[in-house]
């Protein structure tokens, strides 16, 4: 668009942003934006809340937190102990032991943490991690700053994986099934039984999850050794975006590759049904790239336009969002390709040209009709096409809300679109450093066909029983196979039907490697001796082969890797050094890479034959079951910190909901939290309703991931529901992936209520102006630097220390993913309290993400705002504490002294931001107690004090890390450099939205962010016009969102012109 000329600026300022009937914006939002039934989110939310019996909602919903199961014995025991203790006047000091090492390892200094680099195993993206261990015990997983895939960040699932290591419900010993019961058995017996079985037959198969490292190569060698065909290895991931893209590129270019996308170089990103931020190919890499793409400096910033039917987290972060009919993504892509193709300045030639021409001619009539059904005029497509041609742009298509029969077709049209835009080798790289596909497309269908003939099946680190729709009958097939051996790091549904359930190593206990990008290898090494009696999955196979006298020439999987990595040394060209030294260097750094080059782009083939037929747009209600961005396909459901982080859009924790457009809900006469019965051809499901603005009226969204009823973990056991039962057996003809979206559904209201455990009970901004601030591009150009600390104050200037710690959160970059909430809870030993306590409003997370809907119900603007303790200079909470439990540190921190707090809770009432959390209960760690509050794995950080009940706690800006950094600085005699200390949330934020540093140092990033024209203080009024709000002078400042399309910003929000 280039720099706007002055008349463009004036035109923009005069043009009323919204065709409002009259100028009076003062009144609440619903009056000035016309809508069919409900204009604004505030009105519809209040409407749907009215009449909902808040306390009676749902039999299950009554918060059981109140029946703290007072059993007489328990109460009397505790009470007598308390009286006896107080009676014993002077208690002799208990004698404690100090037990040193026998041979102290040289690099281990008790009290000083050691870091190991490894690779995260939670999903197939292969992010590099640094594991902080203290006294040989992993304490925290953090992204490896040098690792190119995730550049130091980590998603919520990666952070929460440490809870999986210490999870008390991991299998303690190998189990063998006798009838309905699993009984413990010795490892030797397992090896001998399975050894005999392997000796007798060669019909053996291995079903495993996605992995890009040498793991699959090892399995192939094992199969070959036992005489099984190469096709007996079935690799499958529930996130079928991998296989869709790989299959599409196989059809288009002849090789199943996944393009590595670099959005940050582009200017315009157009997404059609894409959810790359939540679950796509590599969510953390995508978030880092998107964050760089949207950074605003000297007037230039990237724009993101999204066409989608469901309100996904990615769509919520789009600058302009079009709501399209469910299943119409393919039509929209073709319409966009048509506008691009017909655009005069398009540069396209060869096969792409002929393909586009033939495609558009065959679907001429359907596309003409599509404009009307989509209610998006052709001019809109043409304007977008011109914008895409003029600026550097690319298209991203497909996502977990579009895993239907046409998923791979949509990818093919996406490839065509990007060819027209010339995005390949500029933003989508397939010739140099493309991403390997962790799975072979179509393996599930092959497994369902071939599995019944198998005698032995090894299911390793995968849970097809839960993640595939029931109609595919995977559980039935597993039951029919004589011996199924399930080797998982955490028990799952396969253990219910398998003959053997063997405890596999957790990612932090196992060897391995990943090759996320071709030529780039990332190593995984164990950081702790196995905590339970588990074995490396590959070692189990080796032992079985050994006992069946068909052993492989490797002592264990480490030896196998050691041998395979010799090829990696040759390939990466570091030949000067001895191999063992090279291996140790890679172990220390974590990765090694030399991107390979291929000429795939040139071998483009004509794939228009696959796009001959288009599925007609079916009207009526359709159900989609997207993947949950917290527990992926259900693999994270046993981690309490993920269950309690709350979904990005609906903030619902622990439960599954059916999101429906509020207008459709009113038409059906439903109310929030009312239970409806969804019935499709395949089955029925009773699920509570959640009114979600921004959905298309004809779509019902019911996320997957929760609903484990296998009673393997009390955490995930009947938390939420599994919607996969509603999908009949259908598959994408090209990639053979199961269909989990766009199935016609009927909704029947029931009289039951089920109260969803939502963290946030009110969803709009209630007409308040100094919470979420937005600024559009023209006014940003003229905006000046801010001085937020210039607030009139009656008291003399506070005597300040050497530093003044402050934080800046950029709301334009925050995508609301919740990784910071998971990281903060792990770092600071924050307990999880369970569903009923969340309903009561007693969640304990120190940072919460507020999500506000704003504007029209059908296309709302969604704003995310992470709120932690603001560390105010004039803190209302400090003045009211009677015992000095919370005082102000001269370095700008609000210090919370847990042992001094007596629990009057006045500070929490006085805090205008409500960021303080109270310990209502004492939580038992490391066991699965009767009460929901006592179910916390013992993944605790020894550097942070654990709080007992009756004590207030809040974000301390990671004061432990600050203290260590200052000791370091004092030792070396210099000040703490900017960026040397990172808070846990800043460290893991995938989109660099949080900045922490010393506000006294004018050059530090946080000082610059605090003076940024977009900077403002939460509840800080409107300083330019002399209103200073609450004058609490917070240490945390926010950077307002940028409205790149000047969309829908009422008058009172716009910065004043005079």
């Amino acid at each position: 668009m280039g720099t706007p000329t002055t008349d463009e600026l004036e035109k923009l300022e005069k043009q009323t942003l919204v065709d409002a009937p009259h100028e009076d914006f003062e009144r609440s939002a619903e009056t000035f934006v016309p809508g069919p039934y409900y204009a604004a989110a505030e009105e519809v939310m209040a409407e749907l809340e009215a009449g909902v019996p808040t306390h009676v909602a749902g039999a299950k919903a009554n918060p059981k937190g109140l029946d703290f199961s007072v059993d007489r014995r328990d109460f009397m025991r505790l009470f007598t102990v308390a009286t006896a203790a107080s009676a014993a006047a002077c208690i002799r000091r208990p004698v404690e032991k100090a037990v040193p090492y026998v041979n102290q390892p040289i690099d281990q200094v008790p009290g000083v943490p050691t870091f190991y680099s490894s690779t995260c195993g939670s999903c197939a993206a292969g992010c590099g991690i640094l594991v902080k261990t203290k006294e040989g015990r992993p304490v925290k997983i953090e992204g490896n700053p040098e690792h190119p895939v995730n550049q130091g960040a980590l998603c919520g699932l990666g952070q929460a994986e440490i809870q999986g290591l210490y999870h008390p419900e991991r299998l303690k010993t190998p189990m063998q099934r006798h009838g309905r019961r699993l009984d413990p058995v010795q490892w030797e017996d397992v090896y001998s039984i399975l050894g005999e079985a392997v000796k007798k037959t060669s019909k053996i198969g291995i079903f495993t999850g996605g992995s890009t490292g040498h793991r699959h190569e090892f399995f192939l060698e094992v199969l070959e050794k036992v005489g099984a065909p190469k096709t007996a290895l079935y690799t499958w991931e529930a996130n079928s975006i991998w296989s869709d893209i790989a299959q599409a590129h196989e059809i288009a270019f002849g090789k199943a590759v996944i393009p590595r996308m670099e959005i940050k170089h582009a200017d315009l990103l157009v997404g059609i049904g894409t959810d790359f931020l939540e679950i796509g190919v590599s969510p953390v890499a995508a978030a880092k790239s998107l964050s760089a793409f949207r950074t605003h400096h000297n007037g230039k910033t990237g724009r993101f336009v999204q066409f989608e039917t469901n309100l996904s987290m990615t769509g919520a972060n789009a600058d302009k969002r079009h709501v399209i009919a469910p299943g119409s993504e393919l039509q929209v892509a073709l319409l966009l390709v048509r506008s691009l193709y017909e655009h005069p300045k398009v540069k396209v030639s060869g096969i792409a040209h002929t393909m586009a021409q033939s495609l558009l001619r065959t679907h001429q009539s359907e596309l003409d009709r599509a404009y009307a059904t989509l209610q998006i005029p052709k001019t809109e497509f043409d304007a977008l096409a011109t914008e895409m041609i003029q600026s550097e742009s690319l298209m991203l298509v497909g996502g977990s809300s579009m895993f239907s029969e046409e998923a791979t077709k949509l990818q093919l049209v996406g490839i065509l679109g990007n060819l027209l835009l010339g995005a390949y080798e500029k933003f989508l790289f397939i010739d140099r450093g493309w991403m390997k596909s962790p799975v072979v497309p179509g393996d599930l269908e092959r497994f369902v066909a071939e599995a019944p003939q198998l005698d032995i099946l090894f299911v390793i680190d995968s849970d097809p029983a839960f993640t595939t729709p029931a109609s595919w009958g995977v559980t039935g097939i597993l039951e029919k196979i004589p011996t199924v051996v399930s080797i998982q790091s955490f028990p799952n549904d396969v253990d219910l039907v398998s003959k053997f359930a063997l405890p596999g190593h957790h990612t932090l206990e196992s060897w391995g490697d990943e090759e996320p990008v071709e030529g780039f290898w990332s190593m995984r090494q164990p950081v702790i001796r196995p905590t339970t009696d588990s074995r490396q999955a590959e070692d189990i196979l080796l032992w079985i082969l050994a006992t069946s006298e068909k052993n492989l020439p490797y002592a264990d999987y480490h030896a196998f890797l050691y041998k395979k990595w010799e090829a990696v040394q040759q390939f990466s060209g570091n030949l000067t050094v001895v191999y063992d030294m090279f291996f140790k260097a890679v172990l220390r750094r974590g990765f090694i890479g030399k991107l390979t080059v291929q000429t795939l782009f040139a071998q483009l083939k004509d794939f228009s034959t696959h796009l001959k037929t288009l599925r007609p747009l079916s009207t009526g209600l359709q159900l989609i079951a997207p993947l949950d961005h917290r527990f992926h396909d259900g693999r994270g459901a046993h981690l309490p910190v993920l269950q309690e982080t709350g979904d990005a859009i609906t903030t619902v924790t622990w439960d599954t909901w059916a999101a429906i457009n509020p207008n459709t809900m009113t038409k059906m006469g439903l109310k929030r939290n009312q239970v409806v019965e969804l019935s499709t051809a395949a089955g029925k499901l009773k699920v509570p309703v959640y009114p979600l603005p921004g959905l298309h009226p004809d779509v019902i969204v019911c996320p997957r991931g929760n609903g484990h009823t296998d009673a393997r973990s009390t955490i995930s056991n009947n938390a939420g529901l599994n919607p996969l039962g509603l999908f009949a057996k259908a598959q994408d003809p090209l990639s053979k992936e199961p269909v989990t979206a766009l199935v016609p559904v009927k909704v029947a209201a029931t009289t039951e209520w089920f109260r969803l455990a939502a963290l946030q009970k009110h969803h709009d901004i209630a007409n308040r102006k100094d919470i979420i601030k937005k600024v559009d591009l023209p006014s940003l150009k003229v905006a000046k630097k801010k001085n937020l600390d210039h607030v009139p104050d009656m008291f003399p200037k506070l005597e300040e220390g050497e530093y003044r710690w402050g934080m800046a959160i950029d709301l334009d970059k925050c995508t609301g993913c919740g990784a910071c909430v998971a990281a903060c809870s792990i770092e600071n030993n924050v307990p999880q309290v369970g569903r009923d306590q969340v309903i009561l409003g007693r969640e304990m997370t120190w940072i919460r993400i507020d999500r506000y809907f704003y504007g029209d119900v059908n296309a709302p603007e969604v704003s995310f705002q992470p709120v932690n303790c603001q560390h105010c200079h004039h803190a209302p909470c400090e003045a009211v504490c009677p015992v000095f439990a919370t005082t102000h540190d001269p370095e700008g921190l609000n210090a919370m002294t847990y042992n001094r707090c007596i629990g009057t809770r006045y500070c929490a009432n006085a805090c205008p931001y409500k960021v303080r959390r109270f310990n209502w209960w004492t939580h038992k760690w490391g066991e699965m107690g009767k009460r929901a509050q006592d179910r916390n794995p013992r993944a605790m950080n020894p550097d942070v004090t654990v709080r007992t009940r009756g004590v207030m706690e809040k974000c301390s800006l990671c004061v432990g890390r600050l203290r260590d950094a200052k000791h370091e600085a004092k030792e070396t005699g210099r000040k703490v450099p900017d960026g040397a200390v990172q808070t846990a949330c800043q460290q893991t934020c995938p989109s660099n939205a949080i900045v922490f540093g010393d506000l006294h140092d004018a050059q530090s990033r946080v000082s610059r962010a605090r003076q940024d024209p977009r900077a403002y203080l939460l509840l800080g009024g409107d300083p330019e016009n002399g209103h200073y709000g609450l004058k609490t002078l917070p240490g945390v400042s926010y950077l307002s969102e940028i409205l790149r399309y000047g969309l829908h910003q009422p008058e009172h929000e716009q910065p004043h012109k005079e």
Binding site: T54, F68, S86, P876, P882, R900, L1030
Partner: protein, 447 residues
């Protein structure tokens, strides 16, 4: 005043009339005592459960960190203030009708403040450290208490108020103890003589007694106004919309006196019947008390109105949102019960006929107390539930533990009150004689 009252008793039958009530109390005394002890036990058990399991057993949550327990605390402190009002402020105003009910009012004050004193310990998260960390004792940590915190002001204010009203009440009791000493023999005589410091009723003692009583009343008067202002600062010192207003001190003091007078009336009526004191606590005295209740009810009504006006007039959208939601939001029930009980029902006292009908007055005064409890509940909960950030809005419902403790607090209060009435004269004999017709030989001379 004494000529308005139709006295049918002389000062000679005062001692006889009052002390005979103590010999064999009406059987209903034992029924009342057993009920209140039962409630006390229920409350004690609930508190024990809460201590054993933690504050999670109450319905409190984030953002509503205070609820029923703090409502009880302010309710009981409020009730305490009427006692000092009647005994101190009306003493300075030389209001004659106070002499008949001042002893019961002071007793109510002392026991109400004792009950209120319990609640900071009940609602606090860690009571086993709170008890001694709230006092500025020298300690090995060298850390003192935060004198700028309203809760610290509370500790000092309420302990001073308890001490002063205790002393005030006991000094008033000394002459009566002496008269009881003169009517009993044996060990009781020694006990009463010790308790009345050997009071002989000599003019010297009366001279210094009256002077001291005057100064005590003078000191207690500002104390009454300050203590409930400090209790109101517990809320006004925070930035919470709906709390952060300067009207809170007078508003709370008026509310306190209203609930106090209503409570005095609801207590004196049954106790008068139970101990057969109709001869001494006359209808006219109670009539003046009802007039005082009417006055304070109008003040409180004004306070409600002005609070709404200030919120709207201030143009601060947070304040105005809170008050709108109070009137029409999910907690409107508590608000309208409060307004009805505190402002509308007491208007019945305008008519003399209704004031004479004790049944109506008893019900209205009971409702005023209910209304005052709801007022504190409404102030605390309805502004905590929805304040600045819409995302932090919540919902609060008390649990049976909190209700059990509230019941226990009434049990605790009435147990103490009934034990006091059983052993000590409910009416101050020496002061009653002051307002009864003087024993003169020539009738005409008396005014």
């Amino acid at each position: 005043m004494s000529d308005l009252v139709a006295w049918d008793k002389t000062i000679s039958d005062v001692n006889e009339g009052i002390l005979v009530g103590l010999k064999k109390p009406h059987p209903s005394f034992y029924v009342a005592l057993s009920i209140s002890v039962l409630c006390l036990i229920i409350g004690a058990i609930c508190w024990a459960i809460e201590i054993t399991y933690g504050m999670g057993t109450t319905g409190l949550n984030n953002p509503v960190y205070w609820g029923v327990l703090i409502t009880d605390f302010v309710f009981w402190v409020g009730i305490g203030h009427a006692g000092t009002l009647i005994s101190a402020i009306l003493f300075l105003f030389r209001a004659k009708w106070r002499n008949s009910i001042n002893r019961s009012a002071e007793a109510m004050t002392v026991f109400a403040v004792i009950t209120a004193g319990l609640f900071p310990l009940i609602h606090v998260g860690r009571v086993w450290v709170a008890a001694y960390w709230m006092l500025p004792l020298p300690n090995t940590n060298n850390v003192w208490v935060n004198f700028r915190s309203p809760l610290m002001w509370d500790v000092f204010a309420i302990s001073t108020y308890l001490t002063v009203s205790l002393l005030f009440w006991y000094m008033g009791l000394v002459p009566d103890l002496a008269s009881m000493r003169d009517r009993v023999t044996g060990y009781k005589r020694i006990v009463f003589n010790f308790m009345s410091f050997g009071w002989t009723g000599s003019l010297r003692q009366w001279h210094h007694y009256e002077a001291g009583y005057g100064f005590l009343a003078a000191l207690a008067t500002p104390l009454v106004l300050s203590v409930h202002s400090i209790v109101s600062w517990d809320f006004a010192m925070s930035m919470q919309p709906g709390w952060h207003t300067t009207i809170f001190p007078p508003y709370f003091v008026a509310g306190a006196i209203l609930s106090g007078c209503a409570m005095v009336y609801t207590l004196v009526l049954p106790l008068r019947w139970m101990f057969r004191l109709e001869g001494f606590i006359r209808k006219e005295h109670l009539d003046c008390l009802l007039k005082l209740t009417l006055l304070t009810s109008t003040i409180v009504a004004y306070a409600y109105g002005i609070e709404f006006f200030v919120a709207w007039y201030s143009g601060n959208e947070y304040e105005w949102a809170i008050f709108q939601k109070r009137a029409v939001g999910p907690y409107a029930f508590y608000f309208w019960v409060m307004v009805a009980c505190n402002c509308i029902f007491p208007m019945a006292f305008w008519s003399r006929r209704l004031r004479a009908n004790t049944a109506v007055c008893f019900i209205v005064c009971l409702l005023v107390n209910v209304g005052m409890w709801f007022e504190r509940y409404n102030i605390i909960v309805s502004s905590l539930v929805e304040d600045f950030l819409p995302s932090a809005w919540g919902h609060y419902e008390p649990t049976w533990i909190e209700m059990g403790i509230t019941l226990g607090s009434f049990g605790w209060f009435f147990t103490w009150l009934l034990i006091f009435c059983r052993f000590f004269p409910l009416v101050s004999m020496s002061e009653l004689k002051l307002i009864m017709p003087k024993p003169l030989r020539k009738k005409s001379e008396g005014h």
